[in-house]
Every structure is written in structure tokens, then in C-alpha cells.
């Protein structure tokens, strides 16, 4: 793409990526109003402020240049290629949630445990926040694999289309519980201690429902008060909480205790979404179904939000097949499984013949060279 000298690995990958784009169709909602950015071997976004009139034009560019990364704006603009930003004339944006594996705890290679964890996060976001609290319908949600180790949830809805950064930040803060003051959920009235009812919205209702469900657990109930060992006392407390009265039995240290329980229940998604991405109305986000140059996986668009439960990235997001390809490791490779093919561990300097999907993954990770 640029005048720089390409390594033979980069050349090889670009050829593979070009073939992929040549054989597949692309579709982007509101394509002509989006800004695009493309990246290469060194940087995920090298050029931005690109615009395309239609899918054919975009696809032609993908086939001809085979960028290793392609992203598009969450925003819709009147003039997506204008600069500087204000001249683009912002019209609105999708609302985005970016979920990633926890702090890259397992290093550069993707581990199944992390992938499962982030999948559960995405399901929690959808099932406990986007649908019940924010009232979005499933048809307004588009979920795709990030191509690396996370998921992107795009909300396409008139209800959020023209919200500014501050409003979007509030939404992200809600989901992560930032600025939540737990003690505001409770108040004293004489000797009585009132709090949220299970039927109410927001974190108050979430806590009340979770608390009532947990009271059936002996250890939990006793940790609140010894008296709750007796089932009839438990039932009395439950029905009292149902009316918003949280203490009919004299719980010692109740504010502190309840606060600790709230933290243990992990009802918020603190640290699990990237608030900056949600707040950024001009963010460039991986184009769904495009290839990720850091893994060779596709940022697979899921057929529906429900499809995530059975989605296995290491099996379904790898797009290159089983044709053998010989590569030489440049660092230690752990045990991996891609498209149901198990390989590794093997050491730096060792060469292996691998199915193309696996070999491309190692090349993209810059953990191997062509042998």
C-alpha cells in the first residue's frame, strides 16, 4: 500500500486477505455515510477519513489493497471524508459496547477460558442491561466477534442515534456502575429501614431480586443474621423486603453488610466494558465480517444476539482452510486449537506444517515466519 518494503509474511497475508475479500460480499449499514480507516502490519489505523459510495467500491478497495485492518465510524456523516472532523457534519451514531477479555491475562495467544469469560460478559450486557433496562429490542442489536478476543455490540436505534458524548458516557457509567452510590438506595424512617423493592428498575431492583434469591442459600442467610437460620424468619424478611422494608429482624451493622453483599454479587459490569469506546461518537470500530490482521480471524457478524451462546470463535471465526502451509516459530507456541485442529506446544525455531487457518494465525501474531 505504501512505499515501504513489505516482508514476505505481510505480502503473503495481504494476498490471502485479498482472496478472501474477492470471494465474499461486504455489507455495512449506512455505508455511504460512514468514515473508514485502514491499517497495515505496523498500525491498526494508518489512513482514515476514507469514504465509499457503495459496497462495490468498498469491496474493490479491499481486494486491491487488502488492508490488514479495516474499521468504520460508529457515526453517520453528511460528508464522511471531509476534514477536520467538524466539517463532516455529524448526523448521529450507533451506540457501541466494546467487550474485551480481562486485562489480557494470558498473554498474546488467545485462551479458551478468556474467550468464554468475555462471552458471558456479552450475554450479561444484553440480558441484564440492554434489553430490560434500556428497553432495546433484539432487532436493534447487532453483535459481532471483534476478530481478536472480544465482542462488539452495536445498538442501532432512533432512541440513541443523536445522543452526544456526555449522554453516552452516562450510559456506559450506568452499565459499569460508575458513580453509583449504594447508600442512596436505603433510607431510615424512624426505626424502620427502607430500601428498594424487587419490582423496581435500576440497581435497586437488581439488588433486591438478587438478594431475595440468595436468601435461600443457608450460608448467605446466616451471614446476614443468625436468626435467619430459621426458614420462617427468612420468609418473613423476604415478604418484608417485598414491601421495601429491609429490616424487620434487627440486622447488626446492616448498611455495611448490605454494601459488602452488593459488591460480592457483581451486579455491575465494572471494568468489563470500555467506557471510552461507548462515549466516543466518532470512534472507528472494526468492520463486521472483515479480517483482523492480528489473528487472521474474521470479525464475524452473528445472525442474532441469541447466537452468541453457541458461538465458538476458535472454530467459526477462522476463515482460512486446511491446505497445509509450512511455518517456523519465532517464539514458543502454546497448545492451541483452531478449527478443531490441535497443535503446539513447540519451541522457537521449530518448523511445522499446519492447516492454513492455524499457520495464518501464527503469522498474524508475528510468532512465526514462512518456512
Amino acid at each position: 500500500m505504501s512505499g515501504l518494503v513489505q516482508s514476505s509474511e505481510e505480502k503473503f497475508l495481504r494476498k490471502k486477505f485479498s482472496d478472501y475479500y474477492g470471494a465474499s460480499s461486504v455489507s455495512v449499514r449506512g455505508l455511504e455515510k460512514r468514515e473508514f480507516g485502514v491499517g497495515g502490519w505496523e498500525k491498526k489505523i494508518e489512513f482514515r477519513h476514507l469514504a465509499f459510495k457503495n459496497e462495490n467500491e468498498l469491496r474493490a478497495r479491499l481486494v486491491a489493497e487488502a488492508p490488514l485492518y479495516i474499521s468504520h465510524s460508529v457515526a453517520y456523516y453528511e460528508f464522511p471524508d471531509a476534514r477536520p472532523m467538524p466539517r463532516k457534519n455529524w448526523e448521529g451514531s450507533d451506540l457501541i459496547f466494546d467487550l474485551d477479555t480481562e486485562a489480557h491475562s494470558c498473554g498474546k495467544f488467545t485462551c479458551q477460558k478468556c474467550l468464554d469469560g468475555v462471552k458471558q460478559d456479552a450475554i450479561k450486557l444484553i440480558e441484564e442491561f440492554l434489553l430490560p433496562d434500556f428497553g432495546f429490542s433484539k432487532s436493534e442489536l447487532a453483535v459481532n466477534f471483534s476478530g481478536s478476543r472480544g465482542y462488539h455490540v452495536h445498538v442501532v436505534s432512533d432512541a440513541v442515534y443523536d445522543l452526544g458524548r456526555e449522554a453516552r458516557r452516562e450510559i456506559a457509567d450506568y452499565v459499569s456502575g460508575t458513580g453509583l452510590s449504594f447508600e442512596r438506595l436505603f433510607w431510615n424512617e424512624g426505626k424502620k429501614f427502607f430500601g428498594p423493592t424487587p419490582g423496581q428498575g435500576g440497581f435497586g431492583g437488581k439488588f433486591a431480586r438478587a438478594f431475595l434469591a440468595k436468601l435461600d442459600d443457608d450460608a448467605f442467610a446466616i451471614s446476614i443474621a443468625r436468626k435467619l437460620k430459621k426458614p420462617e424468619e427468612r420468609e418473613k424478611l423476604k415478604s418484608s423486603i417485598g414491601r421495601g422494608n429491609w429490616d424487620n429482624i434487627g440486622i447488626a451493622n446492616r448498611e455495611k453488610k448490605l454494601g459488602e453483599k452488593f459488591d460480592e454479587m457483581k451486579l455491575t459490569m465494572a471494568g468489563r466494558i470500555d467506557a471510552n469506546v461507548t462515549a466516543d461518537t466518532s470512534k472507528l470500530i472494526r468492520m463486521p465480517d472483515s479480517l483482523h490482521g492480528g489473528s487472521g480471524f474474521a470479525a464475524k457478524r452473528l445472525a442474532s444476539p441469541d447466537a452468541i451462546a453457541s458461538f465458538e470463535p476458535m472454530r467459526s471465526a477462522a476463515v482460512f482452510g486446511s491446505k497445509p502451509l509450512r511455518v517456523k516459530a519465532t517464539e514458543a507456541i502454546p497448545a492451541l486449537n483452531i478449527q478443531d485442529f490441535s497443535f503446539g506446544p513447540f519451541g522457537a525455531g521449530e518448523a511445522r506444517e499446519l492447516p492454513e487457518a492455524c499457520a495464518v494465525y501464527l503469522l498474524c501474531k508475528k510468532a512465526a515466519v514462512l518456512a
Partner: protein, 321 residues
């Protein structure tokens, strides 16, 4: 719905506008004088008086509202416009509070002006999430995480409902002013007199010699001075710039002081943190992606602006001497 009482309480409404354009109101001197008084009171004491319940006074109110907008437009100063908008919005709030029981349909009509439909839920109201986020003031009380949110709606009290509409009115007036048109000489003169109030009002805002700063930094400083809530990314960028430009912490605090959510303790800590960490200035393209780039100065980073752009200009000046 277009009764005169409603129009006089809510002169910004489309019903009031329709009423005025039917009447083809004339601009008479006595009205200009009264309207100037209204603007002065609004920006000095933050108040706009209520209207006596007489049809003459109500008609006059509509005229005064229109002329006051022209005067503020002639003064054409963001700070004045914002103060004026706050005062008009407060007056609206006080009408909404009393009308809520006397003329509940008025409150619905004002809400409809902003595309808001409040649903009754017992003694409380439900407001759609997007409208809630757009029109609530930024404070811990309104923090979404502390609210009852369900099915895309947020529960608010009747007082909060009024507060939301007040904020909507404020934003509408801020957005619509200044009106760009040719105004009569009398109105222009009133605008100039109002503008002359400015130095007294602005005494507490730190002035910086801005001519050397890049346009993006100038814009951020201006916005702060106008009590605009800058996004976090912009605040950090501005903080880094001012630290790198060698400005002492106390003066930087003076610039951030007019941010609506300013806290001296927090800001001092943050500025000192930026200073000790020695963060590097975001590049122009990063500033652009924050939506903070407002010109094409081709400097690479805002820090180069002085040497690049001013350097070139200064050199030229010296050469021609």
C-alpha cells in the same frame, strides 16, 4: 391550545410564535426600553419577572420576549446569551411548577415542544432514556446509575420533570441565539448598552493572552469560560498543553474554574498529576478524533503551533521590516 395565558407563560413555544406572527407586532420605543430592562435584569440578577394576568400585559409579554431576543442577538456574546437563557429557563420552571396543578395540560404541551412525553406512574413520571440523558443537569442526583431505569424509561419526580423541561428551554434558547438579521437602530443601541455590562460580569473569569495558542486550545479555553462542559479527553489535552506551555498550576485552575463541575481539590490533583507524569501532548490527528481539532494548521501536534505558524509569521514580519 393557543390561549393567550399559555403563550404568555411560554413565549418560546410554537403556539406563541404563531400568535405573534398573526398579530404582526410592531417594534415601539417603549417596548424596546422595557425589553432592555428585562435583559439587564436577566443577566445581572438572573431573573425575569412574571406577567400580570391581564390580556394587555400578556400581549406585551410576547412582544418583550421577541425584542429581548433581538437585543441579546445584537450584543452577540456567548456569555451573555447563556446567562440570559438561564434566566428565561428559570422563569419557565416557576410557571411550570404552578401550572402543574392549575393547567396540567400546559406542562404536557411544553414537553411536546421538545418531543418529550412524560408517562404518569403513580405520583411520579416516566421519561424516555434518551430525553432524560439529553436534558438532565449533570449532578450526582441525576446520575443514571442511581436512578430507576427500566424498559428504556427513567422514573422522575414532578419537581424533576420541571427541571428537565427547564433545561430543555435553556438549551433551546442558547442554540437559537444569536438571531442573524438586520435590526432597527434602537434595538442595536440597546444591545450595545447591554454588552457594556460585560466587564463587570466577567471579572472572575481568568483572561489569558490567547493569541499565541493554537485554535483548538483557544476553542477549549473559550468553551470553558462559557461554562461548557468539556469532555474528559479534551480536558486532559488542555491540561497537558497548558502544563507544557509553562503555565503555573494556579493559573491553570483559573481556566478550569468556570467548568460547571469544577472542584479545586480534584483539578489541582489532576493538573499536578499531569505535570509529574510528563504526559505527551496528543497529536493533531488524535485531537481530531476527539472532535477537538477546529482548523488545519498542519503542525503535527498543537505544541508545534507557536513555532510553526507564529514562527513563520514572525519571520515574515521581520523580513519585511
Amino acid at each position: 391550545m393557543a390561549d393567550l395565558l399559555f403563550c404568555s407563560h411560554y413565549p418560546f413555544s410554537s403556539a406563541a410564535k404563531a400568535h405573534v406572527s398573526e398579530r404582526r407586532m410592531e417594534i415601539v420605543s417603549s417596548y424596546v426600553e422595557k425589553a432592555e430592562g428585562r435583559v439587564r435584569e436577566a443577566i445581572v440578577s438572573g431573573k425575569v419577572g412574571k406577567v400580570p394576568a391581564l390580556s394587555e400585559a400578556q400581549e406585551e409579554e410576547l412582544a418583550l420576549y421577541a425584542i429581548a431576543r433581538m437585543i441579546v442577538s445584537c450584543a452577540n456574546n456567548r456569555y451573555l446569551i447563556n446567562r440570559y437563557a438561564v434566566a428565561e429557563a428559570k422563569k419557565t420552571g416557576s410557571y411550570l411548577s404552578s401550572d402543574a396543578s392549575a393547567h396540567p395540560e400546559y406542562v404536557d404541551a411544553v414537553a411536546a415542544e421538545f418531543g418529550i412525553k412524560f408517562e404518569k406512574a403513580g405520583a411520579l413520571f416516566l421519561v424516555p432514556l434518551g430525553k432524560y440523558l439529553t436534558y438532565t443537569p449533570r449532578s450526582i442526583d441525576y446520575k443514571l446509575a442511581n436512578r430507576e431505569v427500566a424498559a428504556g424509561k427513567v422514573k422522575v419526580s414532578s419537581h424533576e420533570r420541571v427541571r428537565i423541561l427547564e433545561e430543555a428551554v435553556r438549551k433551546k434558547i442558547e442554540r437559537e441565539l444569536p438571531i442573524r438579521a438586520a435590526f432597527p437602530g434602537e434595538v442595536k443601541a440597546a444591545g450595545a448598552r447591554v454588552l457594556a455590562l460585560l466587564p463587570k460580569l466577567e471579572a472572575n473569569v481568568v483572561k489569558v493572552g490567547q493569541e499565541n495558542y493554537p485554535p483548538c486550545v483557544n476553542r477549549m479555553i473559550e468553551e470553558l469560560a462559557l461554562n461548557v462542559n468539556l469532555p474528559h479527553t479534551a480536558r486532559v489535552a488542555l491540561g497537558i498543553y497548558l502544563v507544557k506551555a509553562g503555565m503555573p498550576t494556579d493559573r491553570i485552575l483559573g481556566i478550569f474554574r468556570s467548568a460547571p463541575d469544577f472542584s479545586e481539590k480534584t483539578t489541582r490533583y489532576q493538573v499536578e498529576y499531569l505535570r509529574t507524569k510528563g504526559y505527551s501532548m496528543p497529536s493533531c490527528s488524535t485531537m481530531d478524533s476527539y472532535g477537538a481539532c477546529v482548523a488545519e494548521c498542519r503542525c503535527g501536534t498543537p505544541l508545534n503551533y507557536r513555532t510553526n505558524v507564529h514562527g513563520r509569521a514572525l519571520k515574515k514580519e521581520e523580513e519585511t521590516k
